[in-house]
């Protein structure tokens, strides 16, 4: 039997420090109180308690990795023993806060695909010496992938595919983070205004010129961009994507460094994010579709943060082993689908245009017309872009779909990871001979989907990706599609 092991003794330093931080408010209170009544034993207790907790945590936590299982014991009063078979281990993540990194430690989190979110139920080793942690990770992941991948045997050199360069910061302002940051700025401003309790009189409002408004707007924008940059830097600085044996490692973070690992056999495909703003800046981002990893944990499936399109193409090629899914030509969906994009956009615009028209007829001010015109222009632009985005293909063993405009994305899913097809059509779609196709899979959002594919093209796609599966229902399905059109 493998002996039980303790965590690294250096945690005797880390635990007290983190506990001290947690206890800081109490400590300050104690110190102030102590200062008033003369220093007493209380202050000592205040420092001693966190340190003691840290020591207890260290002494009561043990783990072992045997041939077949990983086991973890912890707790003083309420003992927990967690145990999981090695072949259930799906992900091994390493993370290290600033303190951990200074001391050369790393926390190991072993993911089993279990849905338990309780922190007590997580297999977390906080923390091991860095070399132990990487060795453990390799050991755990080897058991899954090693048998199938001959390249994994012996040595396992880590091959780095991409690393962070400061140039990537250019793309930060074009990601959705700016909107989040802008929201944060607005909220903070609101809080501040409430806190300061500014009394605004009518004279003040009259005194506000357009220049002032412009200055405030520009200031807010600059602040939002700065926040977005800082956020991007915090999460993505030091980013590196590398391949070691049968796993991909993603490393990132400025202060707290996280390393996630994705088993090659479970990498079902990739999602290339091409939001409108990022396309303007010629940037892309890449995420992985990982079997057993739902979209709720999308953060651990990032393969590339917003970065140059060329880098994104490189990453996709490296990960999928072929460049076709990222750059190959897509089958367009034709007139009927385009018509549908325009009718839908115009119907949406009608919600604005019609009330404005009524308003004008009732003698409203003429600038209302400008709003209607703007709505129309936006709707037409969206429809054009959406129609142009629609596409699908079966390239080099991957089902590739692309759709959307503001949040456009191009998904590539390995054919062998397709676990079913959903074909959905409303009455309008059936009249137009279109169908929305979704290839279902066991990871990510659960499906890779594209709207308004001509029925024949949909069946061609499905039978190319999964020969013989849809074909057995194909003629029937086709006939029914026709029958319904009538």
């Amino acid at each position: 039997m493998t002996p039980w092991q303790r965590l690294d003794p250096r945690m005797l330093l880390v635990h007290p420090i983190t506990e001290l931080v947690k206890f800081l408010p109490v400590l300050i209170g104690l110190l102030i109180a102590g200062g008033a009544s003369g220093t007493g034993p209380w202050a000592l207790l205040g420092v001693g308690l966190p340190v003691g907790l840290g020591v207890v945590r260290y002494l009561t936590t043990t783990y072992r990795v045997s041939e077949a299982r990983v086991e973890l014991k912890r707790g003083l009063l309420q003992r927990h023993t967690l145990s999981t078979p090695l072949d259930r281990v799906r992900t091994v993540d390493l993370s290290a806060s600033l303190i951990h990194r200074l001391l050369g430690l790393a926390t190991v989190v072993i993911g089993t695909g279990s849905v338990a979110t309780d922190s007590d139920e997580r297999l977390e080793l906080d923390a091991l010496p860095r070399e132990h942690a990487t060795a453990l990770r390799e050991h755990l992941l080897q058991r899954r992938g090693g048998a199938t991948d001959p390249a994994a045997v012996g040595g396992n050199p880590e091959v780095v595919v991409v690393t962070f360069t400061p140039r990537w910061l250019w793309y930060a302002p074009f990601s959705g983070a700016v909107l989040v940051a802008a929201g944060a700025v607005a909220a903070a401003a609101g809080q501040l205004a409430e806190f300061v309790d500014i009394r605004i009189t009518e004279d003040d409002i009259a005194g506000i010129g357009p220049g002032f408004v412009l200055a405030v707007a520009v200031g807010a924008l600059v602040l939002a961009v700065a926040l977005a940059l800082a956020g991007y830097l915090l999460t993505n600085a030091g980013f590196a994507l590398s391949r070691q044996g049968a796993a991909w490692h993603v490393r990132r973070g400025l202060l707290t460094r996280r390393e996630t690992s994705i088993d090659v056999t479970r990498l079902a495909g990739v999602t290339i994010g091409e939001p409108a703003a990022l396309r303007l800046a010629r940037g892309r981002k890449v995420g992985a579709i990982v079997t057993g990893l739902g979209s709720d944990r999308a953060g651990s499936a990032v393969l590339l943060p917003p970065a140059p399109a060329r880098t994104a193409a490189e990453v996709t090629r490296a990960v999928l082993g072929t460049a076709a899914p990222a750059s190959g030509p897509l089958v367009r969906h034709g007139r009927a689908a385009t018509t549908r994009r325009f009718t839908r956009a115009l119907l949406g615009a009608a919600l604005v245009v019609v009330p404005v028209g009524v308003g004008l007829a009732l003698g409203g001010p003429t600038w209302l017309a400008a709003i209607a015109a703007a709505a129309l222009v936006v709707a037409l632009a969206l429809a054009t872009d959406r129609a142009r985005s629609l596409g699908h293909a079966h390239l080099d063993g991957y089902v590739v779909t692309r759709s959307g405009s503001v949040l456009r994305s191009r998904d590539a899913l390995g054919s062998e990871h397709v676990i079913g097809w959903n074909l959905r059509a409303t009455w309008f779609q059936r009249r137009a001979g279109l169908v929305s196709v979704a290839a279902t899979t066991a990871g990510g959002k659960g499906r890779v989907e594209v709207a308004d594919v001509p029925v024949e093209a949909a069946l061609v796609l499905a039978s190319a990706a999964t020969p013989g599966l849809v074909d057995q229902f194909l003629d029937v399905a086709h006939d029914r599609a026709r029958e319904v059109v009538r």
Partner: protein, 143 residues
Amino acid sequence: MWQLEIGLEAAAVAVGASIAAVVWVADPWRWLLAGGAILACVTVAVVVPVWRYRVHRWEVSATAVYTQRGWWARERRIAPMSRVQTVDFAQGVLARVFGLATVTVTTASAAGPLQIEGLDRTTALALVDELTRKADLVEGDAT
């Protein structure tokens, strides 16, 4: 069964709508609107189940399961036998009265199961048996 289910729903909506119409709308329009609402609900109650019944179908081959359901929006789902994870058999109260059952086939995807509704009990049980047997023959963890 669908007739009855929808009939109940439609009746509730009809009653609600006509009460609303009677309460809020001015006098001359009141009865007209209430009548319209009831008529609409009755039409829906009659048409939708028939439509649904005509759309609903399923097929099981040696390697895959296929279902088609819906009425206005119609969805066809195909899952290979090798990816079937569970086969559920369920009977609601109404279904039991009619001796019917629903068979649900799930895969590892979050994109939704395949449901076959309104089978008679014996057919449903036989289907569950058949699917379980076929799914069992396949190796692997179906992901």
